[in-house]
Point group: C3
Chain length 676, copies 3
């Protein structure tokens, strides 16, 4: 558990490196990430390299007992490279070139760019293969950022055709899989397939889904090219990549080639662009579940402690608004990341940069070198982690153990992509729907893995599966086996809608999940605000919104446990529970409000025998790690925790201040939010 | 009067055709439309045809005593055709290609595509020329859908130049007609004219209007190409086309080549995209006047009973929201269409399709073949129509007669297009303005023809002419003759603004209509909500909005009958009535609220001696057809009708439930909405 | 002081010219502007000229004792020219051509277009060089209108490279100035630089700022080409250009080549597109400070009385809404312009045009030749000016003297551009921020020059400097010298942020202004509405918004005079006053509400000893010119003025009606708004 920082020695005079590195060490930092946008400094002209500046930085870092994380610089190829190979630029769906001038100006499927990427990666790998200060590598930087995950150029057209050939073998299989009889779309050869470029009418959803899969696979393949070179140079190095929040790139696929996953966490920015309404508290500190879902996703993606490779250090430049974070928020975020399983939290950046596109992005230091608001928080977080390490239950290698998760939250990029292709209402958002259930688990302090449906589920006491949109027989078998073996499964609206190719099933929704769920979706409707229903569950009335499915039980073990009230759906089953083997499945055919989600999830956890706390307020979350209980308060008010008299407080105490963290040796089950 | 269905045998296994057709017959359906997107099935490879599947379907349909309506498949040319002739693709105004991938990916002015269209149409015409089951044809499908009415490619550039040469003869005439001295736009030759492609400043409105006319004419010409081939093959066949709601394509021009017009009616979808605010009732059943205006337009366009070629069968995929229609709505819509003059109502589609772009569009059957919500309604509607046929007064050929309309509502696509080019306020919408007056006529149960100003008007007791934006001397003469002969004419704001080429008249507004209207428009202003006036008419005060014209009477017979109150227009004449010959003209210089529209239209009808009922609520409309009175209730509450004691109720009774229809032999004039 | 009109003889039959000109003379007009869009009439075919129509108009104008202002017709090259040189068309950043069809369809950097511009300008200059009726010239028309200030074509790419070579000498200097180490943007040669075309991520702000500078310089260079030709032909001619409101083109640079500046004033249009919320009064008459800021800017730009080259004559075609202006508004606007320093106010246009893109733009006459609402106002304004001239204190050449301004408002296009590049909140708008301070000065009737920071400041009693975003050592020295010499300086939020190349300073904000301002900006934050603070100043509490800077005094003479209350900024210094030499500097670190702005500015004026009135309501402004005091009321209610008993009222009286002007010989300091 340690604190790191992102550093750009190339932005400052050479002579400043020494002083900077010394200050980092004094601040208690242990890792320094460098180099991800430095290609034009590393290779100012084709074939003429300059690594002296980087050698110097690495060397000083080693001198001060820290470690360096180096990056391949491929996210920003120099202009000379673009001018030599203009074909590496991406194209929009309407044919517009995405020109040089920002970053990520290359196509993953350009053979020329792959050759150049290999060259610079080999050069770097070779240079630092024997340097003990270099702990490992970050490949590239935020694949797909700025909408560059999908490109529509001719290189992509050609690669997409190859991908389809590989996937389907012959064109008849593709016609069958996609269902191309619709609108005269039957194809005679793979050569006829183009990227889904600008068209008057919408594209075929099966073609789109495969283009999304292909695009994600293109990134994974491109990433592997770099990983292989780095591993070959030094197999002690770790290799990671810094993913983005709630992203469209399949993190499971890419992480399969990494030692662990990292991600870049900007709590007050992400909440502004991902939530439809943002409270003042969220503007100041973010939302713990918006952040936590990514922590748990990236921890789960490589089944390993993750890194926050970039941690927001203060005010930032890219959200609509840039208010100052709450006092202490930068420390809160670091400790909360560790509580959720991070091994290293690396602030972005060391010092506010005087030039270029991110001048309005703060650093730990201001542009004049004085400590900015995040600096003190970073120093405190580093010190906190040292303190906590001394009392916590470490494992063999000294890191804190995260507990095994009792609950799996199922997430599949296919479901994300397919529901983006056919959202059917402006109000549906896959990630927000997943967050709804994640929040209900976490407010009860449940430890959650965020895993794909292909994960091994047997060890989980309960599985929550929001919007299993694409569902195959294999999935049905997997889940049925899980439930029959005593598992408790929660499946939500818009599940079992499509087959693997984004076509409807021959059977009505939920298709192959029918006998497991024990109900048929008789009708679905999108629900504008004025048509919203109420819903009764467990004798109480709740709200629900966005989407109503009218269910009818089809299996003997199926019981209606929730019904719509009011609106056209009045009286129709909305939630059905089906007993299957030793377990049960609950299907929720609407988007419940947070109280209803809490009630349904609470009942699920009870049935599954999962240890929980009482529900904490939305801004407060408790986690277990290193044998300790960490309470993080993202809110603007203090929260008091009822704890046993003999509880020891390693950090803070039973009253957790705004934007603060307290850590105690008391068990989760012995804690509860104090009555106000 | 019968019920039909749209069917896609090519979407399902061949062996399912027999069973499907049998079920259709059992359901009481009489017409089956097929083939409009099946080109790649009909001709999987260039010159290699496969019609077996279609032969089989036609044959089975005949076996069961039903009739087939076939379509030319040109709305969706196969990819092999696009690849062979990439020039057939349309272009956006900014030069972006509208690529293959959806539908309607062809330019009406492509010679290559016209040649290919002739080829496939001839092939089909030839194959089915002697088949007695094929009753007739639909050409193509929804011309102009997805914004494809106007294309900006080089083929269109060339065709536009030809069209201009044809229209103007020499370039000086065009310069004169357009007024090209403005902004240095005088042209030296037709070769200098381009489509109105992306430019920094707005285009010349005369050039735009001619481009809109040319684009509509291009469709009409393209359609004629198909019609001629089909007629030549079998002159017993009817030929129709399925128009869209409130569309930009000139239906009068295209319908001139058809036997009757059809249109595709999706009440809960159209109301969402065409009305600025949508009530819960409208979300569930649509608005009867929004739907009715299209019924009456397309009935009038070919002066013949029309078809609803596609009738919404349940929830649909393309509006912002897809709530479930009200219980019974699918039956209501069919009977209401017949009440307004439809001969056949054909539900779209038989069965929800498992693949492609419309999976979220319901059918009469669900994707698993079970009856969906629309199925029962369709069966009931078919049965209702049989029942009604047995009691109604049929004409010679057994169809119900619609009464002759007492009132003509004038509609001209030139006015639509020109007002779209210069709306002058975000709040003006031509179709909504027309609907305002249509609603006032229909709430009094008046039968309306929606005809162009070139129609024969003498037979109408009254003529309502909203926004006669372009006005020529010929129009003035036509209307003057009508009024002098005793006609009652209502003309509304923004009339007489432009000449035939979208230039202002030499005279001030209303230009050539001045002596007829008896007033000059002294000033006009667009009116944001905060500046709205009130208006006094007949001693009462009303609201008005969007646009205020300050009138002054100029003729002796002209009388001010309405004045603005409040705002800057205070005291200015707003409504003028002018006695001309044996009739009179009322000019309304603003957009009246619905009460004022009702008052003005009511007075017009009184003067014209038109038989009316009391005003029904906005959701309820009464119609005459087949010697019967049909009352359709689109609302969510029951409505009671006061009827004579001896009224017989052929369908339902004097209390008309939500989303229901009642039919009685009582006369319109004997009915009225009961006092609540 | 006189009234003119814009006239398009080419839009009307030749025989109408005589009558039109006679009516103009009768109306009291003295100047007639012509020709700015008449290229295709002047040169219908390449090399074939026709100036007869213009000769005739000029000749008639002279006959009637008026003067002609001619324009070069380059804003709208004919289609034959575009077809011969298609490369003259501009390109969007995404590569889309800005096609022919509107106006301004040429690139300032096209050599071909420059050659053609020289040719037509020489032809015109030559033809009218000896004509005594031609008083002077307007070059082109509204450079940059319709977003054409910046073009992204290859000619611009090449010219930009030359501009950079000229500016930086060698590529290393550019790399250093921009800071290209960021994101691998180091360049090897000027040939590598492109225009900032469409890219996935945002462009480098230094590159953008230089592109904005280059684009403005391109216009200035293009304009000079015309000016030189005209001056050479007749050095008695004045040469001007008609600028636009609150524009992005550097008016100081362009005006340096002109005899005086003109601008095109459309009060009810500009207020709709420039203000976030518009009151009913503003919809009818505009906002006096929105208009006045441009008057004072363009007067200052050439340090000479300006012209309103186009004055709104009534309703206009281009804003969202086109309500009728208030009764008398067209007269009000003319007199107010003169009060602010205009010598000529020229209404646009003589007569509403029947054809082309501006048919919904009124003229003094309606399209049928009858007087429209503006006509009477124009006649009255001409008569008013004659009357006022007879009593006012004229200078040698008979024009009214404007007083020397006591206060300078600093405005720099670099600050506008750089803040547009990085606004950092949707709520920041440079021009609105400047207007806030302009309004506070003007409500106290202070005469203001709007000058760049390079202006000679010593003569001003006070200097108000909103958002001195880019700040150099030179600027710091200039301002320090001003304050040390006893000047009173007000500097506002977001000052001293960047160096001359749009990079942050090495020092924290306000960089080189630190010792002058006496404070450091510890933090800045953008503030959404829900997070707004209050602010205490002078014992009272006020509102502030959009942006909060948390200040800390750094100099001995610095005193905290305003502090935030509430929100996170609570207690932090918000306004600091620093005593420097014989003067003082006040720094305001937020966007104050209008009361606070008034209080701060009022205190500044007190300290500076500037003569003021009590604050007038927002719609009423008093000005001095010609030894008289002009009171203009843009509001909808009458305003009473307390004046000395012996005040003489040259126009109107002490009760100034809605949309009216009163003029008195009383001094400003003897007047005040009457208590209500
Ligand atoms: Mg996957
Ligand atoms: Mg027509
Ligand atoms: Mg400058
Ligand atoms: Zn690509
Ligand atoms: Zn075309
Ligand atoms: Zn250019």
């Amino acid at each position: 558990m340690s604190i790191g920082v992102c550093y750009f020695p190339e932005h400052w005079p050479d002579e400043r490196t020494e002083a900077d590195v010394e200050r980092m060490a004094d601040a208690g930092l242990e890792y320094v990430r460098m180099g991800e946008f430095a290609w034009s400094r590393m290779e100012p002209e084709p074939g003429a390299y300059d690594f002296e500046w980087l050698d110097r930085a690495v060397s000083r870092i080693g001198d001060h007992g820290m470690q360096a994380v180096l990056c391949t610089p491929t996210a920003a190829p120099p202009k000379w490279l673009v001018d030599e190979y203009p074909g590496i630029l991406q194209e929009e769906a309407d044919g517009t070139t995405r020109h040089y001038g920002g970053r990520r100006h290359y196509c993953y499927n350009s053979e020329e760019f792959r050759r150049e990427s290999r060259r610079i990666t080999e050069k770097l790998a070779d240079r630092y293969a024997d340097d003990p200060t270099v702990a490992g590598w970050q490949t590239d930087n935020e694949y797909g950022c700025h909408g560059t995950l999908r490109c529509y150029c001719d290189d992509c057209a050609s690669a997409f055709r190859d991908w389809l050939r590989e996937t389907y073998g012959d064109i008849d299989s593709l016609n069958e899989a996609w269902g191309t009889e619709f609108w005269s779309q039957t194809l005679n050869s793979f050569a006829q397939v183009d990227p889904p470029r600008h068209a008057a009418a919408g594209h075929h959803p099966s073609r789109l889904l495969d283009y999304y899969r292909f695009s994600s696979d293109s990134v994974a393949e491109y990433n592997r090219l770099q990983v292989d070179i780095l591993r070959e140079a030094n197999d002690e190095w770790f290799v990671t990549h810094n993913f983005m929040s709630h992203d469209d790139l399949d993190a499971y696929d890419v992480a399969a080639d990494l030692d662990f996953a990292s991600w870049d966490s900007y709590p007050t920015g992400h909440v502004q662009v991902q939530h439809e309404a943002v409270s003042d508290e969220e503007l100041r500190a973010g939302d713990p579940d918006n952040v936590g879902l990514d922590h748990d996703l990236y921890r789960s993606a490589a089944d390993a402690p993750f890194w926050v490779m970039e941690q927001q250090p203060g005010d930032i430049n890219w959200p609509p608004y840039s208010p100052q974070p709450a006092e202490g928020a930068m420390r809160l975020w670091a400790l909360y990341a560790v509580a959720r399983g991070a091994d290293v939290v690396s602030y972005f950046r060391w010092r506010r940069c005087r030039m270029g596109q991110e001048q309005y992005h703060s650093g730990l230091l201001a542009e004049d070198g004085t400590p900015d608001r995040g600096y003190g928080d970073a120093v405190a977080a580093a010190s906190d982690l040292d303190e906590l390490a001394s009392v916590a239950a470490g494992d063999a290698d000294g890191s804190f153990a995260s507990p095994d998760a009792d609950v799996a939250l199922l997430h599949d990029y296919d479901n994300l992509w397919a529901s983006e292709i056919e959202p059917m209402t402006p109000d549906f958002d896959y990630w927000r729907h997943v967050e709804t259930y994640y929040a209900a688990l976490r407010e009860r302090s449940v430890h959650v893995d965020v895993v794909p449906p292909t994960a091994e589920l047997a060890a989980y006491d309960a599985v929550v599966a929001p919007t299993l949109y694409l569902a195959t027989d294999e999935l049905a078998e997997t889940l049925t086996a899980y439930v029959e073996g005593g598992g408790e499964l929660l499946v939500t609206m818009r599940s079992g809608v499509k087959d693997a190719h984004n076509k409807l099933h021959d059977d009505a929704q939920p298709g192959p999940l029918r006998s497991l769920v024990g109900a048929r979706v008789e009708q679905h409707e999108s629900v504008p605000e004025s048509l919203e229903s109420r819903l009764t569950y467990g004798g109480r009335e709740f709200g629900c919104r966005v989407w109503n499915e009218w269910l009818s039980p089809t299996e003997e073990g199926a019981e209606v446990v929730g019904r719509y009230e009011g609106s056209m759906a009045d009286g129709s089953p909305a939630i059905v529970r089906n007993a299957v083997g030793d377990g049960s499945v609950t299907y929720v055919g609407t988007w419940p409000d947070s109280d209803l989600t809490g009630a349904v999830v609470g009942d699920l956890l009870d049935r599954a025998g999962v240890e929980t706390t009482d529900a904490f307020p939305a801004q407060v979350r408790a986690s277990r790690r290193g044998g300790l209980t960490w309470i993080a308060n993202f809110g603007g008010d203090s929260l008091s925790v009822d704890a046993p008299d003999d509880a020891e407080w390693v950090l803070g105490g039973p009253t957790v201040g705004p934007a603060a963290v307290a850590v105690t040796d008391a068990n989760l089950s012995s804690l509860s939010p104090a009555e106000e």
